[in-house]
């Protein structure tokens, strides 16, 4: 006995209310990129080149945050598109950073808040694809820079463990999503 909401409505509400978590994760990421870009640039032209993609990210996130504030948040498709764009930017950062790139880059850690936020908000069937995409993007990015790390046991260990912990963080986020979903459903079930 009980009328529960449809799955589609639940997912729509998850996106509606939970989107702010993804937005804040993106602000953490943007803050890191701003400071890195300004810090690593030695000339004015380098600063301007670095600022352009950062400005684009900021504009995108301002738009999403404003829509959330006026209670017209983005739908699931737009949320996913921007989330995958974040992955692309982090991967480009790892591949193109001049001083240390690929497996030697320390900026892979920027994947973690993005993956975690998506795992919290989107259902597991969607977030697990995102988690796998992030892991693959990192590995492919490392291979694209210099595939010789596959023969270097220390670097291979580092890349493998980073990928495993990234996936584990995302899976834990999805598990917590399930815990919260069950709690909400237990409250929302009402008599017919």
């Amino acid at each position: 006995m009980g009328t529960t909401k449809g799955i589609a409505q639940e997912q729509a509400e998850d996106i509606f209310f939970g989107q702010v978590v993804i937005i804040w994760a993106r602000w953490v990421f943007i803050t890191s990129v701003i400071i890195l870009s300004l810090w690593a640039s030695d000339t004015t032209s380098e600063i301007f080149i670095a600022v352009i993609p950062v400005a684009l990210l900021m504009a995108m996130n301002f738009y999403l945050h404003a829509r959330y504030i006026i209670e017209k948040p983005a739908n699931e498709l737009l949320t996913q598109i921007f989330a995958y764009f974040d992955l692309l930017v982090v991967t480009l950062l790892i591949v193109l950073w001049p001083d240390a790139s690929g497996a030697e880059s320390g900026f892979f850690i920027l994947y973690y808040p993005l993956v975690l936020a998506v795992a919290f908000v989107l259902p597991p069937r969607v977030s697990l694809i995102y988690i796998v995409s992030a892991s693959l993007a990192y590995v492919v990015g490392c291979i694209a820079v210099d595939a010789s790390f596959l023969a270097n046991s220390l670097l291979l260990e580092a890349v493998s463990l980073r990928t495993i912990t990234l996936a584990a963080t995302g899976v834990l986020g999805a598990f917590y999503w399930r815990v919260q979903r069950d709690r909400l459903r237990s409250i929302q079930d009402i008599p017919a």
Partner: protein
């Protein structure tokens, strides 16, 4: 008057966070063993690290059993076990080369579990204290081991790590807050709806509150069969 000391916190999130904490600890145990196995240090240090991991596994199995049996676990025990996680990870990090070790990534799931289970103030204090320690460790590495030409890059990496760790704690707390607000709104809506049904005299609401009926209605066919059976018994007795 009962003196229940099992609840340190008024926030009941910790009760629902128990399963997340236990799951996170299993992840830390498995990945911790991988770290140790893949890059073993000297024998003495290796024995110590494995001993700590196994002790953690036994303790976690006990907590897992409590969760499966739906038995309450004292808040103090959950808090102590989460702090022990951070201590064990720190031991692994120090044994695996300190700041240079990749074992610091194990802090991320531990911070996540903390931020979704414990009150915000406690999360800030514990992760802040640990953050200061790791920042000090990073600075010691930067100024003693790193050549001057790489100092800028390594400082950037340390900065990004600290920002991401703070970000993970913030994201965990923020999501928890979103869900708390949704549950509160759902409870309010449910209470309002039930109140409306009660005032409306809805049959559905009455059926929930009404005591179960004494007699169960039977179909005419069943009633006919019962009557014939009763008549037959009466004739046999006579």
């Amino acid at each position: 008057m009962s003196t229940d000391t099992s609840n340190l916190f008024s926030d009941d999130e910790i009760k629902y966070g128990e399963s997340v904490i236990v799951a996170t600890r299993w992840v830390l145990i498995v990945i911790g063993l991988l770290f140790i196995a893949w890059n073993p240090s000297n024998v003495g240090s290796l024995r110590l690290q494995i001993l700590f991991i196994f002790a953690l596994a036994f303790a976690n199995f006990f907590l897992q059993a409590q969760v499966l049996q739906k038995k309450p676990i004292s808040d103090a025990v959950i808090l102590a076990s989460s702090v022990v996680d951070l201590v064990v990870i720190t031991i692994i990090v120090l044994a695996q080369g300190g700041y240079e070790s990749n074992a610091y990534l194990l802090y991320i799931p531990a911070i996540l579990a903390f931020s979704v289970s414990f009150p915000l103030g406690l999360t800030i204090v514990v992760t802040g204290l640990w953050g200061l320690f790791y920042f000090a460790l990073g600075n010691a590495y930067l100024f003693t081991e790193v050549p001057s030409e790489s100092l800028a890059l390594e400082t950037q990496v340390l900065f990004v790590r600290m920002l991401v760790f703070a970000g993970i704690a913030f994201i965990g707390w923020r999501y928890r807050k979103v869900e708390q607000d949704r549950r509160r709104n759902a409870r309010d809506a449910r209470a309002a709806l039930l109140g409306y049904l009660k005032e409306d005299g809805s049959e559905a609401f009455e059926a929930i509150d009404a005591p179960p009926p004494v007699a169960v209605a039977v179909s005419p066919t069943q009633q006919l069969i019962s009557e014939k059976a009763a008549a037959k018994r009466a004739s046999e007795e006579s």
